[in-house]
């Protein structure tokens, strides 16, 4: 009980000075003059605006990745006391004094700096020598592209950090697995693996590739565990369960947590409200919520409503009509019904108001008590300002000739009867007698006579339709599609009998009661879905490149140019490291194939333990490179050199592994070994020299003369900026 009194309390600490020194060097290289340049550099313009939104707590939607990355940057801003007041509009713009540049750039820089000792740890945990581990760390240290990317307010270095952390903690787990499974440190590393994986995914979707790789390796190891007959069934089951919880459940929970924090932080309506559904918008402060607050919940006969299309593509819009009619003859010679146009209009307008009418009665006001409209009821929709009824008939729509035209019916006294009955179909109903609710219910209008469905076709009408969007009756493919689904956004109970009064009423804002509660999961799934489907409009950039350019460093990105001198920052890699890392990958793959074939014929060149080490190092490093690189060939989005950096980091880790392998197993004599070491030292000094030469472009601290800049243009395809008049 009191044993600790009898023995002295002793703390022994092993401090690996290598790691300390590497950390210090990493910090030095990444943090040195961090707040220079005091100007917006490249994609900072993009991330910066989101930081501002976080500071002001405005809701935004960004399709580039999950929110963790943005939130980390915003954390830097928060710690630095940033108020969010900066106009992020132009690369190169000078930061005003209220922007805490240093703290905004601090987190990525720290992540970049810590990647250096982590590279050391990983190679060490892969059971290679200290020398190889030092090599890996020193290579990461002097890789210009990694330094550039880490010193700015960008996310790649953070992603790389979590990728490496996931790998390191998994390796630690593997190594403690043999001796002390289920010990405290075992649990710690296992959980950390899951957490690091989820953070990597949370920063960029790209992190998924590393996560899948870790999962794959873990699955193989688990399969071996199952085959291990020295373990009892219960023990195996515990192992599997622990892994499943740590590597599957924890990441999912963490991912949800990121979104939870994101949604809690962004509680005010912001610039991208329109893309979200009405229900989502209503859950934000200000914006739609201000309008819909106090609306009646249940739509009744006589309700005045605006109807928003749920699909919202190409733009979010509301069902609309106006006095103008369809032209008698279209440009291509087809005829129309010449009735009043019905369109979808992307702006709030008094012409977006419709009145829900009971076909059996004439009145356009709500009874008291209100008679709610239910699923399956037949309704008519009266356009508020023109009091014409929504109608469709067997006439081809103006731009989609396979669908029916939708119009507001005008009786021309020709043999074209009104067909204005619509059956209400609530899509997200829970029971068959559910009441039509404002904002919450997603409804389809099925035409009673022709069973066509009211649909937004997505085409823009020509000038006669004021470039509004075409609305049609879809008859051919009645499969479920969101473009056929509508929801009530603004809603009030109509009180005015007279048309004049009613028009006044339509112009006045709505005021009544509505309880709104959208669960977190509903908001999360909507936000996630919109983030995945939101489309970036333009897909060309001066510095975009293809994956093939990356391996040979055929491209660079000019990040920043000093407004007056020719000091500039480029994303440009250390070409020696770049080339030798690619070479090392090729050597690794060739050697692996050779060994595999030989082993198949029962010729074992390597002792079993070094073979296993070699395979594991390859699976993680070469595999990490492959999973982070090859998928880009399938992607259609605009790609940049910095997308290659995570893959490059793994490739750099592989480099010392291959070198040590060559020295240990392929150099036959001591002489060869010494020669090889000498070569490696020469090669590393070469890499250092390149680092030093490219340093002005990495830090942007020195203005070079045009001649010096021209001398740095080692490849035709590198775009180094040279001022014409200086």
């Amino acid at each position: 009980m009191l044993g600790f009194l009898q023995r002295p309390v002793v703390v022994t600490a092993d401090i690996n000075l290598n790691v300390v020194a590497l950390t210090a060097l990493g910090l030095l290289s990444r943090l040195w003059r961090l707040s220079y340049p005091r100007a917006v550099v490249f994609d900072e313009v993009y991330y910066g605006q989101y930081v501002s939104f976080y500071m002001k707590r405005l809701f935004f939607l960004d399709g580039s990745g999950p929110p963790l990355g943005h939130m980390l940057l915003a954390l830097g801003g928060y710690l630095g006391g940033f108020d969010g007041n900066f106009l992020w509009n132009r690369i190169g713009a000078e930061y005003s004094s209220n922007v805490p540049v240093w703290s905004l750039r601090l987190l990525p820089a720290l992540a970049g700096a810590l990647s250096v000792p982590m590279a050391y740890q990983i190679v060490w945990e892969l059971r290679f020598s200290h020398c190889a581990a030092m090599g890996a760390a020193l290579l990461v240290l002097i890789e210009n592209a990694l330094i550039t990317q880490a010193r700015l307010m960008l996310l790649e270095s953070v992603l790389i950090f979590f990728n490496l952390l996931a790998m390191l903690s998994y390796l630690k787990l593997c190594n403690s697995q043999k001796h002390r499974p289920f010990s405290l440190s075992w649990w710690f590393w296992l959980t950390l693996t899951g957490v690091a994986c989820s953070c990597a995914v949370g920063i960029k979707y790209m992190g998924v590739f590393t996560y899948l790789l870790v999962l794959g390796v873990a699955a193989v190891h688990a399969w071996h565990l199952i085959g291990d007959r020295t373990l009892s069934n219960v023990c195996v089951l515990c192992h599997l369960l622990a892994r499943a919880v740590a590597l599957l459940v924890i990441p999912v929970i963490m991912y949800l947590l990121f979104f939870y924090v994101h949604l809690v932080l962004l509680c005010r309506s912001g610039p991208h409200d329109q893309i979200m559904s009405s229900a989502f918008q209503a859950s934000l402060e200000g914006g739609l919520a201000r309008i819909t607050q106090g609306q009646p919940l249940e739509v009744a006969y006589g309700s005045q409503v605006t109807l928003r299309n749920v699909f919202g593509k190409p733009v979010p819009c509301w069902l609309h009509s106006h006095q103008n009619t369809y032209p008698m003859i279209y440009e291509n010679g087809r005829g129309s019904s010449h009735q009043q146009q019905v369109t979808c209009y992307p702006f709030k307008d008094v012409n977006n108001w419709w009145i829900v009418k009971d076909p059996g009665r004439h009145q356009l006001v709500v009874n008291s008590p209100p008679r709610p409209v239910r699923h399956g009821d037949i309704v008519q929709l009266v356009h508020g300002m023109t009091t014409r009824l929504l109608n469709t008939h067997d006439v081809a729509a103006p731009l989609s000739p396979h669908s029916q035209e939708v119009s507001c019916y005008i009786d021309y006294n020709i043999s074209m009867p009104a067909q204005n009955l619509w059956r209400l179909d609530i899509v997200n109903r829970e029971s068959s007698t559910e009441v039509w609710k404002t904002i919450l219910s997603e409804v389809r209008f099925v035409h009673v006579n022709t069973s066509a469905i009211l649909k937004l076709s997505g085409a823009h009408l020509p000038d006669w339709g004021f470039r509004q969007l075409e609305v049609v009756g879809e008859k051919l493919s009645p499969g479920y599609h969101e473009s056929m689904v509508w929801n009530v956004e603004e809603h009030r109970y109509g009180r005015s009998q007279e048309q004049k009064e009613r028009e006044l009423e339509l112009h006045s804002p709505t005021q009544m009661d509505l309880s709104r509660n959208l669960s977190f999961m509903a908001r999360f799934s909507e936000l996630q879905w919109r983030m995945l489907t939101v489309r970036s409009d333009d897909s060309e950039h001066k510095y975009s490149s293809t994956p093939l350019d990356w391996v040979t460093l055929d491209t660079n990105i000019a990040y920043w140019l000093h407004p007056t001198t020719s000091a500039q920052i480029h994303l440009l890699g250390n070409i020696v490291i770049w080339a030798s890392a690619s070479l090392a990958t090729v050597v690794y793959v060739l050697l692996l194939c050779w060994y595999l074939l030989r082993r198949r014929r029962s010729i074992c060149d390597l002792p079993e333990d070094s073979w296993l080490r070699w395979v594991l190092a390859g699976a993680l490093c070469a595999g990490g490179w492959a999973v982070n690189y090859l998928p880009f060939f399938l992607m259609e989005k605009t790609l940049f050199l910095y997308h290659y950096l995570p893959a490059l980091t793994f490739q750099i880790l592989l480099l010392p592994v291959v070198l040590q392998h060559i020295s240990d197993h392929l150099c036959r004599s001591q002489l060869q070994r010494s020669l090889f070491s000498a070569l490696v030292v020469a090669w590393y000094s070469c890499a250092c020299h390149v680092f030093n030469t490219l340093r002005p472009l990495t830090y942007g601290d020195k203005s070079l003369s045009p001649g010096e800049l021209r001398a740095l243009r080692w490849k035709e395809s590198w775009d180094i900026l040279i001022r014409k008049h200086q």
Partner: protein, 782 residues
């Protein structure tokens, strides 16, 4: 059959002892796995039955061992066959007695119980004949209805007529499919034989055959002039021949081995020749071959020379032969279609030179570009077309209101441009001037011949690609401003060289803004007549979009040379037509607001495809899988994954399975694994495809899924029967199970057959319709 048994043994031995060399431990292992009849001298038995006298015993044994055949006969099935053939001891008969009874019962409703080997073989053939006959009967029943064109028949029928007229056309699918007629009926016997080979079990094969015969979807698809039945025919034929050659693996280089191997290759060529979906079966065969070779390579008793022979044989039969056939199809395609037609503009200038009727065919034009030449300029990117302008202005709000410049895929006099010097407007064709050639790096002006406007660009954003500059036609009668000046450059050539017609790859660089003339490939709206946008791109990347070549060239002052030297070689034609096809295929993109079929819809039979007829008065055919069959398939995949992983984990944990279970699990893991791989390969890639997808794309995968269902239920029922072996109930379980599945499939076909054979009358929403109760999902609209 026996050969399969031996392979099973070989495989189990391999699994149990991968590095064993001597025959003795192998025999021991075999006995281990057959404790039901342990005293059976299996090694001797096998060598006696199967070994060829010419092969030394040791090598023979290893030959069999060193493979991982996907088709592994179950110990149960194998032994039971031995019983029927009367070759086994009574112990074996006792061990497997119940199962024989089970199987006999399962078969009894189809054919009489066999008495002797003769009867047995005859019965087997009769069963196959019955399956084939039933399949043909269902497929040919009411084949001539409806008498009008259905769905894609418009498309493929039209192409058929093109072949007849020898007009060149362009299609997104390779050509073979259009030569053939309906082969859908043969799918059923093929599936039957494949499953029989994989599982060695007649009930499994019968179940598969029934599922496919009674599937309304397969039936409908087979009845029309479409590519899919032909594609599926080749896929199934390739699968069957692959399975067959796997079972010949113990007799390498024998005649049947060669036959099946080369037949696999031929079918692969066929599958790829019909549609690119054929690639998936190639992947499957490739995977099978690689794992096969890997095992051969790991077999230390085989010399490297033998392995080399194996490798060469496979390269010959599975790579060289299909490639040759595939190329031959194209050779025929190009030979037959040697006339100019509507598809010309999709192809490069050189390609067109070989089409008779095209103006480049047998043409002779001046070789070097000179000032005053009238030319057409074609974009090097396939399917972009010619630089074009016409007397229409860009509409208001779209850049400057000047004359449109577009690219146009068809030949037209509006594609003609005149090359002029930038600084003079004198007519260079005046005979008093000497001929002056255009050289790389010259500053020129391009004047549109019809409207006499200059090609012009300026700092206005392009109509669709906002980051590029607008290109217009500007000036009156050739007089414009300095924004009409372009520097002409030949890619990868030195300055000062002349510019060759057709061969030089040229770029036009705008002098004032420094941008490059290119086409974005985007389709302009109505105002631009849906031609493609031309822009001036400030990004100087070298992409094909901004590289052009001169196609037509008219200059009376220059001597003509024949273009025949330009005729591309066959490989070039082949490559080019593939590039165009791939682009065409990727171009079939769905629009945002359209309902399209999604891959996840397919296995759940979410929605069918209307083949013909919409209204209640029409004769309607609706492509929809038989829901009973499809949902059974879906269930089976889930069950398979479950049972497969249970068995795999049990084996990995080293559980000692009883021999019957061991045999059955081998069938399940290996045979079923092949089929599951087939299903995966033919289904999941569709999730990655950006083009428009249709329900019928799932059918190749559905074939594999049905075969898997057959194997799975047969195996599961046998396992069930085995676990209940003590009770009297067990005997019937397998038989009852199979029969009820067969009857279920047949009855559901009886219910749903109007989908395929056509329905008239009210739609199914209407309670008066005969199909009223059958609209089980709201998304089905028949």
């Amino acid at each position: 059959m026996l050969c399969a048994t031996s392979r099973f043994l070989a495989a189990t031995a391999l699994r149990a002892q991968p590095r064993g060399r001597g025959p003795a431990p192998r025999c021991r292992r075999r006995e281990l796995h057959f404790p039901g009849h342990p005293e059976l001298p299996l090694c001797d038995f096998l060598t006696g039955q199967l070994g060829r006298p010419s092969v030394p015993a040791g090598r023979r044994a290893i030959l069999r061992r060193g493979r991982m055949p996907p088709a592994v006969g179950g110990g149960l099935a194998g032994s039971e066959l031995r019983v029927r053939r009367g070759r086994c001891g009574s112990q074996a008969a006792r061990a497997v007695g119940p199962d024989v009874a089970v199987e006999a019962a399962a078969r009894s409703h189809k054919r009489p119980a066999p008495g002797s080997r003769h009867f047995e073989a005859a019965g087997r053939w009769a069963l196959l004949a019955l399956v084939t006959l039933l399949s043909f009967a269902t497929r040919f029943h009411r084949l001539d209805e409806p008498p009008h064109i259905c769905w894609d028949e418009t498309h493929f029928g039209k192409m058929g007529s093109y072949y007849i007229n020898r007009t060149f056309f362009f299609d997104v699918h390779p050509p073979l499919g259009k030569f053939c007629a309906s082969l859908g009926s043969l799918l059923v016997p093929f599936a039957y034989l494949t499953v029989l080979e994989l599982s060695k079990s007649l009930p499994a094969a019968l179940l598969t055959a029934a599922l496919l015969t009674f599937d309304t979807g397969c039936l409908t698809l087979s009845q029309y002039i479409l590519l899919d039945p032909i594609l599926m025919f080749f896929i199934m034929a390739a699968m069957l021949s692959m399975v067959k050659y796997n079972s010949c693996a113990d007799r390498p280089f024998s005649a049947p081995w060669w036959f099946w191997l080369s037949l696999t290759g031929i079918n692969l060529a066929g599958a790829l020749g019909v549609k690119f979906v054929g690639l998936f079966i190639i992947v499957q065969v490739g995977w099978n071959t690689i794992s096969d070779l890997w095992h051969l390579f790991g077999d230390l008793s085989l010399s490297l020379v033998t392995v080399g022979k194996h490798l060469t044989a496979r390269i010959l039969c599975l790579i060289v032969l299909p490639l040759a056939l595939y190329t031959a199809t194209y050779a025929v395609h190009f030979m037959v279609l040697n006339k100019s037609g509507p598809g010309d503009g999709f192809f490069s200038s050189a390609f067109q030179a070989r089409l008779s009727g095209n103006n480049l065919h047998n043409a002779s034009i001046p070789e070097h570009l000179a000032y005053g030449s009238v030319i057409t300029v074609k974009n090097l990117r396939m399917a972009i077309g010619y630089l074009h302008s016409h007397r229409h202005l860009y509409p208001e709000g779209v850049g400057a209101r000047q004359q449109q410049v577009t690219t146009y895929l068809h030949k037209d006099y509006n594609n003609l441009w005149i090359i002029k010097k930038h600084n003079t407007n004198s007519d260079p064709l005046d005979p008093s001037f000497p001929v002056e050639f255009v050289r790389h790096g010259d500053i020129i002006r391009l004047e549109h011949k019809e409207t006499s406007r200059n090609l012009h660009s300026h700092y206005h954003e392009a109509p669709l690609t906002r980051k590029h500059y607008q290109v217009t036609g500007y000036g009156i009668n050739g007089t414009g401003d300095s924004n009409d000046f372009w520097r002409i450059e030949v890619v990868n050539r030195k300055f000062g060289n002349r510019i060759k017609v057709l061969r030089s790859r040229i770029r036009f660089i705008h002098l004032v803004t420094g941008c490059v003339l290119g086409s974005s490939g985007k389709v302009l709206p109505k105002w631009g007549w849906e031609q493609l946008e031309v822009t001036c791109t400030p990004y100087l990347k070298e992409t094909l979009n901004s590289i052009w070549n001169v196609e037509d060239h008219i200059n009376p002052k220059l001597p003509n040379i024949s273009l025949d030297v330009l005729q591309p070689s066959f490989p070039e034609i082949l490559l080019e037509s593939h590039m165009v096809m791939i682009r065409g295929n990727n171009g079939l993109k769905p629009k945002d607001n359209e309902f399209t079929s999604k891959p996840w819809h397919w296995p759940i039979n979410y929605q069918g495809l209307r083949f013909s007829g919409i209204n209640d008065t029409d004769f309607r055919v609706y492509l929809l899988g038989n829901p009973v069959v499809w949902w059974l398939n879906l269930l089976s995949i889930a069950l398979y994954l479950l049972s497969g992983s249970i068995i795999a984990v049990a084996m990995q944990r080293g559980a000692r399975l009883p021999p019957e279970v061991e045999g059955l699990s081998q069938v399940l893991l290996r045979g079923g694994g092949q089929l599951l791989l087939g299903w995966t390969l033919h289904y999941f890639p569709f999730f990655l495809m950006g083009r428009i997808l249709y329900f019928h794309h799932y059918f190749p995968a559905m074939l594999f899924s049905s075969m898997l269902t057959g194997v799975l239920w047969d195996t599961l029922l046998r396992l069930c029967a085995w676990s209940l072996a003590s009770s009297s109930l067990a005997r019937g379980i397998h038989a009852v199970g199979i029969v009820s599945l067969l009857l279920g499939a047949a009855y559901s076909f009886y219910l749903f057959h109007p989908l395929a054979y056509g329905m008239v009358g009210p739609l199914a929403q209407d309670p008066r319709s005969p199909m009223a109760g059958l609209r089980w999902l709201e998304s089905w609209d028949f």
